[in-house]
């Protein structure tokens, strides 16, 4: 066991921090508000292009696609630093983490040549069309239908909660081509295709974040399918295993906790209740950090993460919860005209236990897979 970074990892983190210090403008706080907003998306195109130039957009990708085969630790250090800075890459983090790598593995050469280079250059935004009104936690029950018509598929249905849909060029879409789990296929669909309508959903979490996406007789060529017909479930499982620890939320939560404590101290408001709660929140952040590092350590060693990934996810949800609660209780003005960074964090933090899968589903996995408890009868 060893809990120290090696020199190369320290240097890499320093490089990323230097980059952020020189490339993230002072008014970033106002742009960061609303992770899917038009201004944020525009900013991300400019920022990600600069990251790409510096070799910091896709360092963990193979050389052929603009990377340098950097290891799992580098990828995670990069993710931590970006998230802690408010995620200036916006929705492009998905390209980097799993959409690009999934296309490398399952895409046809034509799909790869069309879609991967703009990702590696930081020039394109994708959205993830999975959830539907009747298919949230139970994703396999999705109903959006893709019917083969000659050399095309005709897509009808509705997606919901789709992040970045208002700004994205392409959708990584799940649609039904048959019955059951093995009747779901993936389509790479340009968002300007005729028949697609995007409607923003007014929400607690800021401008431009979540949307409804309607598909009405949307015709896509058969070549827009990723992998084989009915292969979606397998592909998505592999794709999302790249995301298993999820976003390094603890990095921003911990930074915001320090920021809040700093403000309270400065105004002589860091009293007993605040002292205790901030300490608990800090402990939760550190636990989440270590669980996540444990998964990265396994990934680095080529071990596929098991239910430990769910442990890391739940620990991260706890950390977000305690930090958000601390700020609401001790710096409530953050939600009423106060520090915009703490407000932005609140809006991100409150979805931690829901977005990309409910915490309760992770708890079920921990109970059945880690503890090997019998399943609840269905």
């Amino acid at each position: 066991m060893e809990f120290e970074w090696n020199q190369q990892q320290k240097d890499f983190r320093a490089t990323v921090r230097d980059f952020l210090a020189t490339h993230l403008p002072d008014n970033w706080e106002s742009i960061a508000h609303g992770p899917g907003s038009a201004s944020q998306s525009d900013f991300s195109r400019q920022f990600c292009a600069q990251l790409a130039d510096a070799g910091l957009l896709v360092p963990h990708w193979p050389e052929r696609w603009g990377g340098r085969n950097a290891d799992a630790w580098s990828a995670f250090i990069l993710a931590e630093e970006m998230w802690a800075a408010g995620e200036p890459r916006g929705g492009q983090y998905m390209n980097v983490n799993w959409i690009g790598p999934t296309l490398m593995r399952y895409g046809t050469p034509a799909q790869q040549n069309r879609y991967i280079p703009p990702m590696a250059q930081g020039q394109t935004l994708w959205c993830q069309g999975f959830s539907e009104p009747e298919a949230g936690s139970d994703l396999a029950s999705l109903r959006t239908k893709a019917e083969r018509q000659g050399d095309h598929y005709c897509i009808n249905g509705q997606k919901i909660w789709t992040s970045y849909a208002g700004e994205a060029e392409t959708c990584f879409l799940l649609a039904r081509t048959g019955a059951g789990k093995n009747g779901i296929s993936i389509f790479l669909v340009p968002m300007d295709t005729l028949g697609i309508t995007v409607v923003e959903i007014p929400s607690l979490i800021g401008e431009g974040d979540i949307h409804e996406v309607f598909f009405e007789n949307v015709m896509v060529p058969a070549s827009a399918m990723l992998g084989e017909e009915g292969q979606a479930w397998d592909i998505v499982r592999t794709a999302l295993s790249l995301e298993r620890v999820g976003i390094p939320r603890f990095a921003l939560a911990s930074r915001m906790l320090h920021r809040a404590v700093g403000t309270l101290k400065q105004h002589n408001r860091f009293h007993q209740g605040a002292v205790e709660q901030s300490a608990r929140a800090q402990a939760a952040c550190e636990a989440a950090r270590l669980f996540s590092y444990e998964i990265i350590d396994q990934r680095q060693k080529g071990i596929t993460a098991g239910p430990e990934a769910s442990v890391a996810r739940v620990a991260t949800v706890n950390a977000e919860r305690l930090v958000a609660e601390f700020v609401v209780e001790h710096l409530p003005e953050s939600l009423a005209g106060g520090d915009p960074l703490l407000l932005a964090h609140h809006q991100r933090g409150i979805v931690a236990g829901i977005a990309s899968g409910a915490a309760e589903i992770q708890l079920n996995l921990i109970a059945t897979q880690l503890l090997q408890l019998p399943r609840e009868p269905r």
């Binding site: 929400s203 609401v328 409530p332 009423a336 829901i354 915490a359 708890l363």
Partner: protein, 300 residues
């Protein structure tokens, strides 16, 4: 001991229910944070509800019950301080009332005719000039306002200050009780209707237990608040407020989990209650402040 309302209270409660029923549904097009309707306070005023607590047969217990009942509405109005704290002030200060705690933004501050200033250990009461306050945008589902600059006030004598703090705690607990119950009701309905994995979400035992625990907490807050209003005891008030804030933190998290992404929208009205509860979480120095008061009054 008698846990049933007396006949006067029953009459009052049913009159209030009738009034409340007009404000019971969220307008379908509403996509905001603070849902207000000035008619709610006007009708309460016309009906004499604000003064009911002064009638001996009714008393502060009735006021606490009314505050709890009205807090369940999607519409909000300054009710709790008018019903439970106003009568404790040295003279007949005009309503609406609001609290400014250590200079921070507060609920109903921008429209308040009377401001209670909590400033460290000191308490003061003033009538603010119209241009002394401003409203502020917020995620809290109350109209929030703040002072433009600190105002002068005469600190009240210690005993009076302590009495006001005590009734503020009771007001907070009574309001929280209603908010908790309304939020639970909304989520219970959602869990009954929403199906995933071929069954209602509410049929998962993982959800049963947590919903049941939330219910125990919410009902506890209600009982403690009403008892504190009856005894007027500082320890009871501190316990009620502490239990309210503890429960709020826990219940808000659980309920948002159970509604999933829908609970993040402004269409599903859960935030109307949860973001009010979040506002209450910080008041009167938060849980740490309530715990101090419990220590002082209950463990001599």
């Amino acid at each position: 001991m008698d846990f049933a309302p007396n006949s006067d209270q029953i009459t009052l409660n049913s009159a209030l229910d009738k009034l409340a029923s007009k404000f019971a549904s969220t307008p379908t097009e509403f996509r905001g944070f603070a849902l207000v309707n000035p008619e709610l306070a006007q009708e309460l005023e016309l009906g004499g509800f604000f003064d009911a607590a002064q009638i001996p047969e009714l008393g502060p217990v009735s006021a606490a019950m009314m505050v709890e009942r009205l807090a369940r509405l999607p519409y909000t109005a300054e009710v709790a301080l008018s019903m439970l704290v106003k009568a404790q002030l040295d003279r007949d200060w005009p309503r609406p009332l609001a609290v400014i705690e250590n200079g921070r933004p507060g609920r109903f501050v921008a429209e308040a005719a009377t401001l209670i200033i909590l400033d460290g250990d000191k308490v003061g009461v003033i009538s603010p000039a119209r241009d002394a306050v401003e409203s502020v945008d917020s995620l809290f589902a109350y109209p929030m306002g703040r002072l433009k600059k600190p105002l002068q006030y005469n600190p009240l004598p210690d005993a009076e200050a302590a009495n006001i703090r005590k009734w503020l705690r009771i007001a907070l607990a009574a309001e929280a009780a209603g908010l908790l119950q309304a939020a639970l009701d909304a989520v219970t309905e959602h869990l009954t209707i929403r199906k995933q994995f071929g069954r209602p979400l509410g049929s998962f035992q993982a959800i049963h237990h947590r919903m049941a625990e939330c219910t125990v907490l919410a009902r506890g807050v209600r009982l403690l608040a009403i008892k504190a209003a009856w005894t007027g005891d500082a320890g009871d008030a501190a316990i009620a407020a502490l239990h309210a804030q503890e429960s709020a933190a826990r219940v808000v998290y659980d309920l948002h989990q159970f509604v999933g992404a829908m609970g993040m929208t402004l269409e599903f009205p859960l935030h109307l209650w949860t973001y009010r509860l979040k506002a209450l979480l910080s008041e009167l120095s938060g849980r740490g402040g309530q715990a101090q008061a419990v220590a002082e009054h209950c463990f001599q």
